[in-house]
């Protein structure tokens, strides 16, 4: 790792896919505190990202590539930059709303009779289901051997 290095390694990943991986001359992102330009040798930094574009200047073509992210996190080391992109716009209240919805669904659809698990009933039911499958397999084995 020398100071004369003119590119940095950039990885943009989201939980669903890897978006970009390669060398870059310069990267521009929208951080939580404002627009950031990252050149090779930048001081180590961690920041949240706002939804916005990530502009990457490629070292060969000097052209700009643009990726849109809906927020996320950015980690900068002098020659390695990692963007952990979110796949959806995240905000505290949006997350909260999603959580409430999941909870409400659970309460509505699953008005179970008791909050205690009936282990005896459960294992009986499962044993039956598994036995059925086994029986079919056995019958098949017997049938083909004939």
């Amino acid at each position: 790792m020398t100071a004369t290095r003119v590119t940095l390694r950039l990885d943009i990943v989201s939980a669903e896919e890897a978006i970009f991986s390669g060398e870059a001359e310069m990267v521009f992102v929208t951080g939580a505190m404002g627009e950031l330009g990252i050149a090779p040798g930048h001081a180590p930094l961690v920041t949240a990202l706002k939804s916005g574009n990530i502009r990457v200047i490629s070292p060969e073509t000097k052209k700009e590539e643009v990726f849109y992210v809906k927020g996320g996190m950015l980690e900068v080391q002098p020659f390695v930059v990692t963007v952990l992109a979110d796949t959806v716009v995240r905000a505290h209240d949006i997350d909260e709303a999603a959580a409430l919805e999941a909870k409400a669904r659970a309460e509505q659809a699953l008005a179970t009779k008791s909050t205690e698990i009936d282990f005896a009933k459960a294992s009986a039911e499962l044993a039956e289901a598994i036995a059925q499958i086994r029986a079919v397999q056995k019958m098949k084995a017997k049938y083909t051997n004939k």
Partner: protein, 287 residues
């Protein structure tokens, strides 16, 4: 020829069923490949986010996030991931059985159980047998988005922060190969620190906003979400693999049935012909 006709109708109907199972087998095979691809694509994120968490945790050894702290376990949370649809062999039954064993183990230690269900099979199962359910998500389809899971994960994370649960486990199927899927229970919270992590360079980070804890908090939540997402995706890969095998078996069984019926059909037909000939010969003899 009445018997022969009946048998012919039966063969015809089995052939139709066979066409369906064969189509389902092929659909499952192609879906499985797609989901496996998604599994691969989700991998770099989990890897990178762990790295960043590791770096941050190293930079702040004095701060122990609740997600990383072990505490006495009085209440346990389980995220049970099943499929939405059936016709996939014993996949769900095996998973539920295994999960139940794990749940019972905690129960016997006096822990209270809280559940989070993914998939309609888990829903209907726990509906029948009871259990305290905190959140559930169903009908995620073949290509669920991370966004579909934020809600349920958030409920469990909040429960953890509020000390409604002291540990969180994920029960899902592990994709070993096409023929083999295994139910596994993984600990999500408190996060088990990976032991094979190399001691890397220590970075004195600048934080923006100037609050490492908030950033770490966000990172850890994202990490758990991505882990649950991976579990759900992997479970779908298992579902498709199991369905593929089940449908292949069904198609093979149908072939056998058709062969047998064909034999019976020929016998019946020949018997009918013989009888008719007999009658003709007998009739001629009388004349």
């Amino acid at each position: 020829m009445a018997v022969a006709k009946e048998i012919r109708a039966k063969i015809h109907s089995i052939k139709n069923t066979q066409k369906i199972t064969r189509a389902m087998e092929m659909v499952a095979a192609s879906k499985m490949r797609k989901v496996q691809d998604r599994m691969q694509r989700a991998k770099p994120y989990a890897h990178k986010i762990l790295q960043v968490i590791g770096h941050l945790a190293k930079g702040h050894p004095e701060y122990r996030h609740p997600y990383l702290q072990e505490r006495e376990i009085k209440r346990v949370g389980f995220i049970v991931v099943t499929t939405d649809r059936g016709l996939c062999g014993g996949l769900n039954s095996n998973l539920l059985k295994y999960s139940l064993q794990q749940i019972k183990k905690w129960k016997d230690q006096g822990a209270e159980i809280n559940l989070c269900l993914v998939g309609t099979k888990a829903e209907s199962f726990f509906k029948r047998i009871g259990g305290r359910i905190l959140a559930h998500a169903t009908h995620l389809g073949d290509a669920p988005k991370l966004a579909d899971l934020i809600g349920v994960v958030k409920v469990m994370l909040t429960a953890y922060m509020d000390k409604q649960i002291d540990a969180l486990f994920l029960c899902s199927n592990e994709f070993v190969n096409t023929m083999k899927q295994e139910p596994v229970v993984q600990q999500m919270l408190p996060i088990v620190p990976s032991t094979n992590e190399k001691l890397e360079h220590y970075w004195d980070y600048i934080y923006e906003p100037d609050n490492a804890r908030e950033l770490l908090d966000q990172l850890l939540s994202r990490y758990i979400e991505s882990q649950v997402y991976r579990g759900v995706i992997e479970n779908i890969a298992c579902e498709q693999a199991a369905r593929m095998v089940a449908m292949k078996n069904a198609t093979d069984n149908a072939t056998e049935l058709i062969n047998d019926l064909q034999l019976i059909y020929h016998k019946a037909r020949q018997a009918a012909i013989t009888r008719e000939l007999n009658e003709i010969v007998a009739g001629a003899a009388v004349v």
